[in-house]
Symmetry: C2
Subunit: 402 residues, 2 copies
Amino acid sequence: MQYTFAERIKNVKPSAIREILKAVAQNPEIISFATGSPSTESIPVDEIHEISEHIFRTMAIPSLQYSITEGYPPLRDKIKERLKDVFNIGQDFDEVIITTGGQQGLEMTPKIFCNPGDTVLMENPTFVSGINAFKSLEANVVGIEMDNEGIDLEKLENTLKTHSNVKLLYLIPTFQNPSGSTMSYSRRKNVYSLCHKYNVIILEDNPYGELRFRGENIPPIKAIDTEGIVIYNGSFSKILSAGMRIGFICAPSQIIQRLVIAKQVADCHTNVFFQIVTEQFLSHYDVDAHVEKIRNIYRERCDLMLKVMNTSFDKSVSYKRPDGGLFLWCTLPQEADSMQLAKLAVTHNVAFVPGCCFMVDDTKPCASFRLNYSTPSREDITCGISQLGQAIDEYLKKENRR
Amino acid sequence: MQYTFAERIKNVKPSAIREILKAVAQNPEIISFATGSPSTESIPVDEIHEISEHIFRTMAIPSLQYSITEGYPPLRDKIKERLKDVFNIGQDFDEVIITTGGQQGLEMTPKIFCNPGDTVLMENPTFVSGINAFKSLEANVVGIEMDNEGIDLEKLENTLKTHSNVKLLYLIPTFQNPSGSTMSYSRRKNVYSLCHKYNVIILEDNPYGELRFRGENIPPIKAIDTEGIVIYNGSFSKILSAGMRIGFICAPSQIIQRLVIAKQVADCHTNVFFQIVTEQFLSHYDVDAHVEKIRNIYRERCDLMLKVMNTSFDKSVSYKRPDGGLFLWCTLPQEADSMQLAKLAVTHNVAFVPGCCFMVDDTKPCASFRLNYSTPSREDITCGISQLGQAIDEYLKKENRR
């Protein structure tokens, strides 16, 4: 049979990262800086095991039976508490819903806000599965460039002026994926004012927010949200376990009510057992010490990567030292195409994700690329970055000959 | 701020069942026949505990780390095997994807097939969260009545003739929710031929398919799908655990490829730990014996309920003896409104779901209602059904006085 698929799904291509990861999976020789996975050392396996034992002993049936769509109430309470403690987030009008990983929030939010053709603005580059989630709900996605302080204010306001039906602004203000950069506090306030002025909801995605390993904390935009225009999308994937798929949204309760309806039809509710695991971890373990341990690992890996890059990369390659998160963003000289470098790098047994993959328009060549330092070992960082340096040299030589 | 939500979500009302369940939750005196939950005895807690121990000992990290969207490969293989063994399902062109519970299949299928305004046909009454999933993707939902053998063939063909853009036919052929009825084999074949003729995809939902406790097995429609027009939606919620949210879809690989894209943006992948739990259960335990145990529980509960109904219900109330599944469908005399009875029943400390909740047009009164026999204890069935009998008497007396 010839299948005729919906337009909304025709616009979404499988992520190029997936294809690169498949190539990596087929060749164990390749050192990969291409994933977005947390370090395996960041997963508190023994604690999760201990908690699981406790659940099987004391509340096995409720952990394995149907539950409510909003999520396990004690977990929702714990999240509200922690959001208040860590980020000073949470107004009286705010409520929390548990999601099946941070990704679910990126699909449900446009689902409840965007009619087909409505516009969603976002940083360019940004998280690919964010772009694809918006596209899959027939939103018109518009990317806005960033400068040193974050999303460009002037370009943002121009776009808000010229587009009549902008519903959402999607932002990853802290340790952005893929750029690794963090929006300044003054920029956050200005972006908030602008969105308030133009009646646009901000979807603030903060999966890496707790992973600062140097510099001063900057409050999330949600912390200044007195007007109820910010939807805060959180996740336990980077501090507890990504495989368990536990995320959450904190937003005004009117919005949460609609998200509950969207979630009811999406997957009924999130895995109950791991909702309880997460609640127990937050209640009975030293989360701050655990997060501190992850930060130390990432600081060390990031600094090692920067050190090897400094000696191995051609001086024409630029990059910024990240203050946290999982990613380092590198830029080749103008006119370069990092996709070509990625293909060459695979022959040097190194993989990374070229910048075009993170662009709203992914058809144009892009000189930048993303390196992940959370997954590879110290040895792989040393060895792989030096191999990548050689690939860069070869690429630049070829390009100059043309 | 005044929020403006998308049209698609405005059309979806929170399920009335939820509201009834909330009332039940607030009054422990109420005996509830309103849920759709499996019996707690149906959950193999000790086995799941044992498997979890094994996972923590031998593959903790992969069970808690990111994984692939398609699902844990050994689980997909086991499901293909079991579908073949139990139902003779699976052509060369078919593939399997793991979903976050059966519900996810009901949202992703219209998402990849239906443009806004495209039509989805379904049995009337049917599963509420199915109806809502299709509505939430802007499909035009059309309900088709059933007769003793299942969905009405003539009405189905008339609708196929008069609607130009019918994309999907949603069916629960076996132990349907809410009617408890099972489509005959000849009707299945005729429905299949009709859909093939009109180029309509069948979404066959089979969450209760293994729960037959009397009568002869009837093959699923997917078992006769030589043309690749049937999407089979399965779930482990009724034979293993509902809280773990593990379901699957078996469909032609071209369709699975699109579902992978839809799932990537929906929740990245399903909880890995419980995918492994499910695989291990299928591989190393006696699933058939476990299913047989559940069947025996449900047969006994169903027969007890029928027995008490026989002595407690007014003779004007009709019902059919189910051959499996979780539900009994009762019908009051014509012109009666089961919603009124539901409200009266709560004052008699009994709850059930009135039939209108399962109708595509839920605004009209409905004489039928659904009783669940999988959750309540023997004592609650005896006591609750007799209380419901009294509520019915009171309701009928009132109605006759009018």
